[in-house]
Structures are given as structure tokens and as C-alpha cells.
Symmetry: C2
């Protein structure tokens, strides 16, 4: 096990979950609100987490929705107040972790989530939030180390709050918790981790420490994503994919690019982020090939391939049985104009190494459909 | 210029110093205590820093000593209180930056520095310290991103306080400020930056993101330390050495090894840290050669050399006109038993890839004398 301190305190390794009780006490807390979803509870992961709380009391919320929703948030806050909770402990995928950030924010700051959204000048209102601990149960989004929280409001709108103050006080990455993740989810979340390394490395911001970590993320995912998908009990594969996902989460603070710009608008239809990324990433890499030739060569070297990076990702997708076309995921041609407009406007597009506007995104969506 | 957020907020690049006023306002401060030394003032660097304070009032302390001393600390605290300062802005090398951390600590926490030392159970007493900004004027120690503060007490003892809360709220790395650093200091501080990358990478702790950054640190220093020493106005060389030093400071949070264990006891005699590191590093690398063969090969690859790493560092030292023997630096054979005992007891030795005890350090010191 190791302790890593970049962005926040990270306990990493098989057995790291056993430190949960210590970490709660370290925050001066004794009555955590444990936030999770039914899937995590049914997979037995929740029991493992609860067994590591130590002597603490706790309150359980296990009804987190597939995408973080304001109604879940309100239920959590009611529990928090009614039961006098003093920290949040989230165990789950990106949605559960995001929900927990929102709970920590509103439990300490009051008000409505929309008050803190990026589009309502919410950033300057976010100070130190309530103590919270993030325990990822998949290796993918990097949300465990993330500063962003995406929330579906009761009015159906999606609202995003982003601030470094929202990063968890402690992240506990225990690869054991990912061992029961089925192959399709291992593949879809893993390709997301890989994409964070690739897109951050190619993005136009200047951040050499992030670049160094990104190459390590890509090298690890390239080596271990297939073994992890083929045999979920392969401990080395689970360890390395969890590390790749953490590193991907660390580096996406640098900035991302076109594949993530394309993915966000599609998620509003409830399609899985990782599956979308798998489909669009090769198209965006082909689009970027000339503009970022040198950096793409670095990535090919890190991935250990002599193919073009876009061909390599394409092949990897095939080997992982990931979807090949957005059509399979329910996307429709008639939506392309709207999607392209949203992608072109996205801040994620602004750091793509080749300028992409509405026309370019329209072509990219059409090619990926 | 770029904004980098690992461990803390870092403004990096030529011209970054122009953001100083904004960063002070961002901390909600308006009356900084500017801490520096006579050398920085005489080199004109202080004027450049003061010109970027914006409309703020400020109070100046320009008498920082070569090693941070409790008497300087007390003078600073008197100014802080008397002039109602609300943040510290430190411009200088490692000593000035350490002094500033101590000012931020005591201005917010009260008491004596010794109360917070690692040997008096001081760590648990350190909470959020007063706002402070670190502006390095050399590329070496990495103290700008450091959590440790070394202080010579009035009773002559050396006391160390270490806590993540002591990391500066903002680091401003502007390579322009290092352009007037003379060749001998460029070389001695630069070899220290290189050594952080090397020793952190070889240390036995497990921290892949640190390892990735460490390799980048070594590659940069290997390429740019000679050009920076040969021509201080080489902007690419200054930029890259400042980045290597920052990266070295980031990764030494992982842990270090035998060369730093050997250097610390010698510094009590006032010898320059970088010069000692230059002399002892090749000896420690030769000592580690078998125990860490694989990792040393990674470092040789990063450095772009086909020689043994210890030979390469030895050669680099020669090309940089760095001292070859500890004797040149005033160390004496009769002190070796005492030095070896201190090195063997050091926590820095505990993570060296090959176990070294008193006997081994005695031989290493003798070989380096």
C-alpha cells in the first residue's frame, strides 16, 4: 500500500480500504453518511466498506441514481441533517462520487445546487466543503480525484459545479473493490481512463508534470486493460488499471479535447460515457493526426504500438468488444446538427490540438454514427 | 504561461511574476510582508518583484540569513504584527522560502518554532497557516513546493517542521528571475534538482505518478543544465531547469535516498547543499547500482546516456566544474564516524534502494572525501 499526495491524500493498494476508519477519525468525524447505489450493495462491496468503518456510527444512503440527481441529493441532505452526520463516505462509480461532492458542498454551504453552477457564477461561492472520502469501485472516470460535479436538476437541466475545494479529503483506491466488475464495464470504464491520458497529453495547455503522468497512464492502460477485462481476478491488472484511472483523473485537470467534447452532449441521453468515448476517440485521433504528430508518436511509444494511434485504439476497442458505432448506442442522425453545435461550444474542445468547429464535429459525428 | 495544480497552485512561465498582484488579491490580502535577502535585492530581482505587487501596500524584510535562523524569524514576526501584515511573499532561494513558511506558521499559530518540530510531536499541531506566496529565484531545491521548513534555533540546534499545511498557497515560477544566477550557483542548484528526480525515482516507496514526474525531471535536467550554466540568458534552458526543479520538489514528497541522507549532516557546517549532493551522488549511485539495476536503467534512458548512471553524473559534475571531493568543501576525515552515524539514522536513508548502515556510510564518506 502507498500514500500519495498530489491534489489530495490518496491511500492506494490492496487492503487500502482497511484504513477507512482511521481516515474518518483523521477528519475528526464519527458519524459518516455512507453514499452508494443498489448495485454496489448487491455486489457485496458495500458490506466490505461498512466492515471497515470501525466503531463509528453511520447512516446509509444506497439509492444513488445512475446519473447524480437533485432528488438523491435532497434525500442525502435530509439524512445528513436529521442524523447529524459529520462526513460523507462515497463508495461507487463516478455518479456516486459526484453525488457525494454535492452533499459535502451543500451540507457546508447551504442553498441550492444550481447556485454553485459554472453558469451562474457559482465558482466564487465555493469554499472549503464538508469532509468527504471517495472510494472508487471502478477504474475509469477518475472522479475520485475530481473537482467537478455534474448534477441533473429537478427541472431536467444539467448543472456542473467545479472547484478544487470539492476534491475529497481522502481517496481510498483499493483494487479489490473492482474485482467483481463485469467485463463489459471493466472495458468501458478502462477505455475512459486511457482516453484521459491520451486527450490530456494531446491538449494544448502546458503542464509537463501532467504530461509525464499521462504517458504513464497510457502505458499502464495499454498493458493491463485487456488482462483486466479477460480475467477480473487478475490482481496485477486490477491494480494497474486502478492506477491508470487515478492518473487519468489527475491529469484531466490539465484539460482534455475533442473526444470528451463529443461525448458530453450524448450523455444527456443517458448513454454510458465510456462506451461513447470508445467510439469517438479513434475518429478524433485520426482528425488530430497531423496537427499533433509529435505528441501522438510519444503516445504510440507509451502504448507500445507501431501502428497509428487511431488504428491501435480501434483494434483495442474490437478486442474489448466495445461498441463500434454511436448508432448501436441509440444516437440518431437527425440529432447530429444539435450535437455538433454543443461539442463546438464546449470548453473541452478549446484545448483540442486541432481546431474543430461545428462543421468538423458534424463530420466526426457522422463518421462515428 | 501555464497554471498547474498539483500540491498547490503554480503559475509557471516567463512573465508569471506579473500575476503577483492578482494572486495576493486572490488570497484576500492587501498588505504583504515581502521576505528576501540582500543578494536578491542587489541583483535587482527584488525591484522586479516589488513592481508586480500592484497597488498593495507592503512591508519589506530583506535580511534573511544564508540558513533560515530563528532571529530572522522573530524580526519578521515583529514586522508582521507591528505592520498588520496579512500575507507573506517570499522571493529567494530555499532559505528565504523556508523562512517564509515559518513566518506563515507562527503568525497564524503563535508559540515558538521549536513547538512544531518533528522531534517534539509538532506535526499534529500544524493546521492551516497564514497565506503565503513562494517565488523561487533559483532552480534547484524545490523548496517552493515543499512542505518542510528547516530552522536554526537561537540555541544553535537545527529544528525541522514538516506539514502539507505549510505548502505555499501559490507558487510563482518565473524563469526570468533566474537569469542573473551565476554559473557556479546555476550548476550547484541544478544538480540538486537532478538529484531529487534520481533519488525519488530510486526510493523504495510506491508512487507511480511521482515516478513519472521524476523521469521527466531527469530528462529535462540532463538536457538543459549544461546550457543553463554555460549561458544564463538561454531562455529555453532557464525555463526547463525551473521546470525540472519544480518537478524535483514535487517528487521528493515521495521520498529520497542515501545522497540526501549523507548531505544533511554536512550542512550543519554551512556547506552548500547542492555542492555536497554533486560530490556524494555518484558514490551513492555506484553503491545502489546492483540493488536498483532496472530503475537505474530507466534513469539512464531518461538522461539519454549509454554510460552507467554514476559515471554519467560524475562526468556531468566535471563539465559543470562542480567540486569533486568533500575535502574541497571543508569536510574532515575525523568527522566521518559522527557523520556516518547521523546519515544511517536519517529517515532519508530508510528509503534508499540498498540498505546502508553506519559502516556503509563510513565507507561512502571516506570514498567521497
Amino acid at each position: 500500500m502507498s500514500l500519495i499526495q498530489y491534489l489530495t491524500r490518496i491511500q492506494f493498494g490492496f487492503g487500502a480500504i482497511s484504513l477507512l476508519g482511521d481516515e474518518i477519525r483523521r477528519l475528526g468525524a464519527s458519524n459518516p453518511l455512507v453514499i452508494t447505489d443498489r448495485g454496489i450493495a448487491e455486489a457485496g462491496i458495500l458490506d466490505r466498506v461498512l466492515s471497515c468503518l470501525g466503531a463509528s456510527r453511520h447512516v446509509l444512503y444506497d439509492r444513488a441514481t445512475r446519473n447524480p440527481s437533485e432528488s438523491s441529493l435532497k434525500e442525502c441532505l435530509e439524512l445528513w441533517t436529521g442524523e447529524e452526520c459529520d462526513c460523507a463516505v462515497a463508495a461507487g462509480g463516478g455518479s456516486v462520487l459526484d453525488l457525494s461532492k454535492a452533499v459535502a458542498l451543500l451540507a457546508s454551504h447551504g442553498g441550492e445546487f444550481a447556485d454553485y453552477g459554472v453558469h451562474s457564477d457559482g465558482l466564487r461561492k465555493i469554499g472549503k466543503v464538508a469532509p468527504h472520502i471517495a472510494i472508487p469501485t471502478a477504474a475509469g472516470t477518475g472522479a475520485e480525484i475530481g473537482r467537478a460535479c455534474v448534477m441533473t436538476l429537478e427541472n431536467g437541466r444539467i448543472c456542473v459545479a467545479v472547484d478544487l475545494n470539492m476534491i475529497a479529503d481522502c481517496v481510498i483506491c483499493d483494487p479489490e473493490l473492482t474485482e467483481s466488475l463485469p467485463p463489459d464495464m471493466t472495458a468501458a470504464t478502462g477505455i475512459d481512463a486511457l482516453s484521459h491520458g491520451i486527450e490530456a497529453y494531446l491538449s494544448t495547455s502546458e503542464n509537463p508534470p501532467a504530461d509525464a503522468i499521462a504517458l504513464d497512464c497510457v502505458a499502464r492502460a495499454a498493458k493491463w486493460l485487456k488482462p483486466a477485462t479477460e480475467n477480473g481476478r487478475n490482481k496485477s491488472a486490477r491494480w494497474n488499471m486502478m492506477m491508470a484511472a487515478l492518473e487519468g483523473g489527475m491529469v484531466l485537470q490539465k484539460s482534455l479535447g475533442g473526444a470528451h467534447a463529443m461525448a458530453t452532449p450524448l450523455e444527456e441521453n443517458g448513454i454510458h460515457h465510456g462506451a461513447i468515448i470508445a467510439v469517438v476517440l479513434p475518429h478524433v485521433l485520426r482528425f488530430n493526426a497531423r496537427a499533433a504528430a509529435g505528441r501522438i508518436r510519444d503516445l504510440e511509444k507509451a502504448a507500445g504500438t507501431e501502428s497509428h494511434l487511431f488504428d491501435w485504439v480501434d483494434m483495442l476497442n474490437k478486442e474489448l468488444n466495445l461498441p463500434k458505432r454511436l448508432g448501436e448506442l441509440g444516437a440518431q442522425g437527425k440529432d447530429i446538427p444539435k450535437l455538433a453545435e454543443l461539442a463546438a461550444k464546449s470548453h473541452l474542445s478549446a484545448t483540442n490540438p486541432r481546431r474543430a468547429g461545428v462543421d468538423e464535429y458534424r463530420e466526426l459525428y457522422a463518421a462515428a454514427l
